[in-house]
């Protein structure tokens, strides 16, 4: 009985599997490099905006707002990062690294937004969302994320900042300390108010007066909710 076909089949099958794993590895690498590129672009955008802010006296509030290209890109980055988290796992060091950068950029954008708001009294309303990917740590986070996607679509005036509560990043720890954020998760913070646990779309509108006002505004203009790129946690 010849063993030749068995050995040949083993070698061919192994090669096919290695090729499948290899293609997948290259594909993931390409996706991660796309994310990295987005982050670099975003960092540059934020730096540009900060510089504009420093030159505030020379720039009008309107100009500052019109020149802000960050929102859409930050949102797309968040969506893609969440996808990669699903593909490679939340613990993957490459994902964690990209997520740290994303979180830093988000915090910088938040600070900038608050500064613009304070000086010009314009710009979107920030909503902070803290979640966890740890198994069993936050069973409602997925649902809450979907509700926030709907919220972002319904109210483009609201900018949602999603933060992984467990991400080991000192800037995030500081933000949590300043905001006095504490479990149980999910946590939603808006205009000084903090909500724990899952909240439906209608519930959020009831809980946050700004959202209620925005809804009334949309209703009175009798326009359907405008759509925008969905924002993922």
């Amino acid at each position: 009985m010849s063993l030749r076909p068995y050995i040949a089949a083993f070698l061919i099958t192994s090669a096919m599997f290695l090729a499948a794993f290899g293609v997948n590895y290259l594909f993931d690498k390409k996706r991660l490099s796309v994310l990295q590129g987005m982050e670099e672009r975003l960092a540059l955008d934020i730096l540009s905006l900060e510089t504009q802010f420093d030159l505030f006296d020379a720039v009008s509030c309107n100009q500052l707002e019109e020149n802000n290209p960050i929102t859409a890109e930050l949102s797309e980055l968040g969506t893609k990062l969440a996808f990669m988290e699903g593909e490679l796992g939340a613990d993957d060091p490459r994902v964690v690294q990209l997520k740290k950068t994303y979180t830093l950029l988000s915090i910088k954008d938040l600070i900038l937004l608050q500064r613009v708001k304070k000086r010009c009294n314009v710009g979107p309303i920030p909503l902070l969302y803290f979640y966890s990917n740890k198994p069993g740590a936050c069973p409602d986070c997925q649902r809450q994320g979907y509700v926030l996607t709907r919220l972002a679509r319904a109210f483009p005036e609201v900018r949602i900042y999603s933060f992984d509560y467990d991400l080991p990043l000192s800037a995030l720890q500081t933000l949590k300390a300043i905001m006095k954020t504490s479990p149980p998760l999910p946590v939603l913070q808006m205009e000084g108010r903090m909500l724990h646990g899952f909240h439906s779309f209608d519930d959020l509108i009831r809980q946050f007066p700004s959202l209620e006002r925005l809804q009334e505004k949309h209703s009175s203009s009798s326009q359907p909710y405008p759509t925008t790129t969905p924002r993922k946690r």
Binding site: M1, P5, Y6, A8, F27, Y146, R150, R153, T227
Partner: protein, 433 residues
Amino acid sequence: MLLRYSVEMMQEVAQALAYGALFWLVYSGVLFLIVLFERDEGGRTPSSQTPPLRRSRLPFVSILIPAYNEEATIAATLEAALAQTYPASRFEVIVIDDGSTDQTAAIAQRYAERHPQRIRVIQKPNGGKHTALNAGLAMARGTYIATLDADSQPEPDALAHLVAAMETSPQAGAATPAMVVRSPHTLLQHLQSAEYLVSVALRRAYALLDAQYVTPGPFSLFRRAALDAVGPYRSAHNTEDLEMALRLQRNGWLILNVPEARVHTTVPASLRPLLRQRVRWSYGFLRNVVDYRDLLSSRYGHLGVFVLPNMLVGLAGALYAFGYFASHLFQSIVEWGVRIWYSGWSWGIAKLDWFFVPLNELTGLSLTTIAVAILLFLQGKRLARASVSPVGLLSYLFLYGFIAPLWLARALWRVCVVRSPTSWQKERSVARY
């Protein structure tokens, strides 16, 4: 923390097992493709010409047709038997009516009256297919015995091809043809037509490894001396065709495969009869392998070392892979439903961006498995010189993996837990092959 690690560990193990199952499926497929290319004259296309047989030395053949409630198909089967190019004077047809309650016997009798020299009809109380075959054997005069299901129609040159192959190989105890699905209409029949072509390729590979473990009921040819040597048909868990092949293997007889000989068989049109048929086959296979466990040895060459163990491992692997994929699919559907429920539908969710193409290790390996299945299908298509609609191939590639585990799991359940036998009569009273 402990819970987290336990969950992660279980997920890792489940994933590794799924990869292992896919590796095994691909490995066995690649092995059979290598055998087909290496040993089958570089993938030659079988000749459609009838082999030359010297008329003066033609052996006499008895075609046995066991029938139970086959009034819808028996006439077509008898017509196909009579239309054989093998000389009419050198074969007889024996219909064994196994206590049918419909017009099967009457139809067969009418044919016997029209062809008294060529067709005989035996009527007996219902006792199962093996008793019908044994009753036919007792009356048969042939040097070769062909068994033909009452719902299957061999092509005119099929018998001549099988006899020619047997004549050139004195150690051969049996020869099997290429089976193709007759006039598929329903989606399930189209699916089976593709599945049967894959089986044509696999059966050819098994034969090249001298490891065929079934002499299909629809049409097979046996050397009378081999049947006399190994003894009459047995109930064999209602899979007497499988048991006979294992018995021939155990006694050292070769089983040839002759893809030039084609037989068209009727297959179940809906899920219920298909499940009943396949549970009987799978159950019979498992029970017979247990009965013939001594064959799982290197003494029986490729049959004992790879083909039979592969069927067992493949069955477990297919069930596991199905469970793994089904749970993932279910999870994805639930997640998608939850997402739509809470965030509402938006085209933004399904936006076209290469970034979101779900290409990962599992999809890569699944595509590899599909590629191997397509290659086997093409081999079967070449060997059987048959065509299958694109619907057949697509449904086979994407539905078969979800349907086959239903009968595999049921058969396994019956073997391991319930231990209830299957019924050929019940199956045939409800639906034909």
